[in-house]
Amino acid sequence: MSSRLNWRTSCRPRNLHLWYGLAALPLLASTTAHAVPAYARQTGSACADCHAGAYGPALTPYGMRFKANGYTDTDGNGFKIPAAMQITGMRTVPTQGQSTSQLSEADLYLAGRISDQIGGYVKVQSTNGGDNKFNTQLSDMDLRFVAKELKFGGKEATIGVTVNNNPGFSDPVDALPAATENGPPTVSGTLLNPSSSNTLAHRVIGASVYALYDNDWYGEIGTYNSLPTSMQDHLGYSIAGDPGKLSDTGYVRFAYMKDLKRQFFSAGLVGLTTRRQLPRTGPTEDVTDLGYDFTYQYLGNRENILQLAYVNILERRRYATTPLGALPGLVAQPNGSVHDQTLTLSYTFKQSYGVVVSHLVSSGTHDIVRFVPYGDPDTTSNSYTLFWAPFGKDDSFTSIANLKLAATWFRFTRYNGSATNIFGVDPESGAVITDARDLDAFLLSASVAF
């Protein structure tokens, strides 16, 4: 299926590897992390102070404050080199296709503070595409300029600017799909979902101004523009995934975050709107995302930590064109919507052993022309992860580096609008029929960050 919203859709999807690749994206992403040992060295904190499982990406309230303060907090003990590395080995066992064991990813983090007002997070990711051919890309980038410990009405505030390449990554709660890398697998997802085809993630550059007031209230407003295709290619991204030319793009994020020390909860809203031309010389479509999210953490004395997060994003589209369908009389809808939802529950014991369960749903309005062959893009999946991160606590062998061993089961119950024969293959043709569960996979991964 073409990933471009405005083009006439083909009758039968081509390139099954693309489908598996799309399905696998969150599998790979969810086992990597944003835990950065450079931050631990800079602050003197243990990994577990900012990340409940001592490895990330989910943040504790302390970690959220560190992020909102522009990654600049320090233990005051001199300059620390703001660099860290992560290496991941993975064994992938798909239901269909070959199992692989390989060094899957090597990451370089340039992350830390330059001064009390300037800090950042930059991840350069090198991914094994098979046969030990590594593709190096600029992954998430979030550069901050902050003014901390301001006083308004007797309350403390931080005001900052973030320059970043992934809408939602700057979220202090770390709940939005760009931050969790756990947006639902999808055939046609929202702008804010990095799993969507022609995603904005890493192919745009933008800036927002934000404020954190009285530790509880967060607001951010900004804009993005897509990178030239030559720059996307230079940064390691195929131009086939170009998000298009963007104009009138606005991003907003509001959140109420309450840290009660033994518990934490937050409620937030997010919005992203743009006018997109894809292809870049083509007509313009209007796309607007509006979402809300809730998180809750039980922290207690950190022996047993429970985290719950729900993100719901609705996207309204006014398409640029209304292509005709394969059969006479069929015309694509001029407007439509898609809907991405993620519910994640995680339990961590002694900040070392954990289980993470996610329920991921991507759905959309019925359109027999745009979503072939069933007219629905609906995709439902679940992931179950068990992990062990033995280090990264104050009383560990090391508090500022860690190892994470994880086993993840990924299960699809629906893909491309169906549980069975998801590509609508003619059974009489002799071609392989693929059901949603044929996309299931099991992953074993070992990551070390130092």
Partner: protein, 133 residues
């Protein structure tokens, strides 16, 4: 009353007063629950402090803090404000400091903490800190 009895009475009061004063000065003689205090420490303090000797984090190690002069732990970069308070972290001083916002207790200090309002948790915490030596 005879002079002998009066003298004995005064002697007894004096000895009792010495004993009570000594017990109150003993850092380990706290009414709180150290085990519960360890939990309070993990929830309220452990992000920035450790009770391990020599382990400074965003805040200084609290190993042996009870009885220590404020702002004097070697190897930690205190704020000027904390270096100038010149008080000893007695249990009473800790009680006073921790029951209010840290920047109210020491204006210009680095510590960001809103204070602990629950008196039992505060007592348990100080008792726990008294055991970290």
């Amino acid at each position: 009353m005879s002079k002998w009895v009066t003298g004995r009475f005064i002697h007894a009061v004096f000895i009792t007063g010495l004993l009570v004063g000594w017990m109150l000065a003993l850092p380990v003689a706290r009414a709180g629950d150290a085990s519960a205090g360890a939990d309070v420490f993990k929830a309220e303090c452990a992000e920035c402090h450790s009770t391990k000797e020599g382990r400074n984090k965003k805040g200084p190690s609290l190993f042996g803090v009870v009885g220590r002069t404020a702002g004097t732990l070697p190897g930690y970069a205190y704020s000027d404000a904390m270096k100038q308070v010149h008080w000893v972290w007695s249990p009473e001083k800790l009680h006073d400091y921790l029951s209010q916002p840290a920047r109210q207790a020491v204006p210009g200090g680095k510590m960001k903490y809103d204070g602990l309002s629950d008196p039992k948790q505060l007592e348990d915490l100080i008792t726990y800190l008294s055991t970290a030596h």
